[in-house]
């Protein structure tokens, strides 16, 4: 045991004992970290250079901090990147609203009715069944539905389908949260004469703020980054979401890698900023569904 570079301490933490051991273990870990981070760094550097520079010298740092790529993206009406940004924001916000309304109510219903109703198990399982299915099993008829409703190429086609795919996990997370709240709260408010909806709205929902934030972050990231439905439901270039627009960029402005790189950087800013502000909440949201399931 002593020949091993770890020392067992009283707590479950095992610390590296010798400096040589520390260095030996750090080398592969730092290499892994570099492999993870270098593509990001490279992308950001690319976005400040010109395409000619990129093609001639892949390594070079930007000679002058070239902000032209970003300026073009934001202000050149022919590229119109702002429009795609707004499209994505509208679709994400709309889908989030639908998801939050339905999943908090549904989560409350499932979470507080553990023993109270007979078909709870099967109904809940029906909802959770979709969690493990590939989206391919839903999206072709979803497309025909939207076509029949005349909603193709509108924000609604994406809002409605995004919310649908987000409901199982969101309702599940909300229901887990609500089921942990003490039932005395409910009893007290019922005695005070609240209706079920008042109890839900005034007592339970404010208590669930933290769970609502988790569900919001998780779904926002999913909606913002979605591509499959985005290219299926929307083919009108003006209505594209940011992800679909970037795919189009590479086709159309294929030779202008600098602008394309700048568009990637801009498109990941919202999620990245949210992550910087609340990274713990983010990690919690992304792991919550998985570990419990």
């Amino acid at each position: 045991m002593n020949s091993y570079p770890y020392k067992y301490q009283g707590d479950p933490l095992i610390r590296l004992q010798k400096t040589t051991g520390k260095i030996a273990i750090s080398i592969p870990l730092i290499i892994i970290t570099l492999i993870v981070l270098i593509p990001f760094v490279w992308m950001i550097i690319m976005s400040f250079r010109t395409t000619a520079e990129i093609l001639n010298d892949p390594f070079g740092l930007p000679k002058t901090l070239e902000l032209e790529n970003y300026a073009k993206l934001l202000f050149d009406p022919e590229i119109g990147f702002g429009r795609y940004f707004v499209n994505s924001a509208i679709v994400s916000a709309g889908a989030l609203s639908v998801t939050l309304i339905l999943s908090t109510m549904g989560g409350y219903g499932f979470g507080r009715s553990r023993h109270k109703f007979k078909f709870r198990g099967p109904v809940f399982n029906l909802l959770l069944f979709a969690l493990m299915l590939p989206p391919q099993i839903f999206y072709i008829p979803q497309f025909t539905m939207m076509s029949k409703l005349g909603l193709l190429n509108t924000y609604w086609s994406l809002i409605l389908t995004y919310a649908a795919t987000a409901l199982p996990i969101s309702t599940y997370l909300m229901s887990t949260y609500f089921s942990q709240l003490p039932s005395e709260l409910e009893d007290a408010s019922q005695i005070d004469g609240c209706t079920h909806f008042q109890t839900f709205w005034h007592i339970m929902l404010p208590l669930a703020r933290s769970a609502i934030l988790t569900v919001t972050l998780l779904n926002f990231m999913h909606f913002w980054n979605e591509l499959l439905l985005a290219i299926t439901m929307v083919t009108d270039p003006r209505m594209r979401t940011i992800q679909a627009a970037m795919m189009m960029f590479v086709g159309e402005h294929g030779s202008n890698y600098a602008i394309a790189a700048a568009s990637l950087v801009l498109s990941m800013l919202p999620t990245l900023l949210l992550y910087l502000v609340m990274s713990d909440k983010f990690i919690e949201g992304l792991t919550a569904g998985a570990v419990k399931g």
Binding site: M1, Y4, Y8, G10, R15, L16, L29, I32, T33, I35, I38, P39, W42, M43, N56, P58, V98, I101, L102, M105, G106, Y108, G109, F110, S113, K116, F117, V123, L126, A130, M132, P134, Q136, F138, I140, P141, Q142, T144, A164, L167, F197, W224, N225, L227, L228, I231, T232, Q243, M247, Y257, A261, S267, M268, T271, F282, I283, L286, T287, A290, V291
Partner: protein
């Protein structure tokens, strides 16, 4: 009259349930369950526009029969299965090792955890496009680096050959998701009760015995979940492949997800029935795969 109904016992019991669960279940039935069932129905039909109107013609099992003689479909199944077997194995082995290292607090462990998690935040499109450039034959970072250190012979057209593109897809998706598996396993590890580890130490167990005899068995349910999630993730992966290679060159990286998309909406084949049959078949494969994995891994736990 309405008041009278509302006051019955039945109503008191069921009304709130219907009120809260009703909306979400109706929405779910409409936008998920109906499309799910409709995909099965579609798969037995040819659904194609005739003079601008979608016409549905019943063809029985013809779509399924055609699938087995479609070389592109067979290629895409082969690719997806290679990926879904190789991907999770590599991912679980490395993620587990790294999760243990972070759990044991190697120097800089907080930094590693945050850094490895970042690829998960960016979209599949970004990941795919950045690596499309990274692997570029002429000016991509990989080949440029190889040439710079005198390994110019190793600089291949990574995304343009027969053998390397699928490996590139597997690598890129792994790059993007291993941090997620690692964080999930880490969460499972922190659930191991400290008393058990203390007890093991008192009994004189060394670090390897503690890991294999105590920590892994407790971690096992989480391990199964993460492995199955990883497997499902590969079986349905679309974004990264679409942005990295688009299924090319020559369908060498075609997956079932990208091929369904091409046949349904990309190519001018104009038939929604055939891709639906693919989707149904693939749904079956995923369900069977998941339940076999689940059963096999649970049995491992009992031994």
């Amino acid at each position: 009259m309405i008041n009278k109904i509302a006051r019955t016992r039945w109503a008191k019991r069921w009304l709130p349930i219907v009120l809260f669960i009703g909306p979400v279940m109706l929405y779910y039935l409409g936008f998920m369950v109906y499309p799910f069932l409709a995909t099965f129905y579609y798969s037995f039909n040819t659904i194609a526009p005739v003079k601008g109107v979608m016409v549905t013609t019943f063809v029985g099992f013809q779509n399924y029969i055609d699938l087995f003689s479609d070389p592109i479909f067979i290629q895409s199944v082969k690719n997806t299965i290679i990926w879904s077997v190789a991907g999770p194995v590599i991912e679980m082995l490395t993620a587990l090792t790294l999760a243990f290292l972070i759990y044991f607090r190697v120097p800089l462990y907080r930094f590693y955890r945050t850094a490895w998690f970042t690829p998960l935040l960016v979209s599949g499109v970004i990941v795919g496009l950045v690596f499309r450039w990274f692997f570029n034959n002429e000016w991509g970072l990989l080949n440029a680096s190889l040439r710079a250190v005198g390994l110019g012979d190793w600089a291949l057209n990574w995304l343009g050959r027969r053998d390397t593109p699928l490996m590139a897809v597997i690598f890129v998706h792994y790059w993007a998701t291993f941090g997620y598996s690692m964080v999930l396993l880490l969460a499972g590890l922190s659930a191991v009760p400290e008393e058990l580890l203390d007890a093991a130490k008192v009994d004189g167990a060394n670090i390897f015995q503690t890991i294999t005899k105590i920590m892994i068995p407790i971690l096992w349910p989480t391990f199964i979940t993460v492995l199955i999630l990883s497997f499902i993730g590969k079986m349905r992966a679309f974004h990264v492949v679409w942005a990295l290679t688009g299924g090319g060159p020559m369908h060498f990286t075609e997956t079932v997800a990208t091929y369904v998309q091409k046949r349904a909406f990309g190519w001018s084949t104009l038939d929604l029935g055939y891709p639906s049959a693919m989707a149904v078949l693939w749904f079956g494969v995923v369900i069977v795969g998941v339940s076999l994995l689940n059963r096999w891994l649970k049995r491992q736990a009992q031994v």
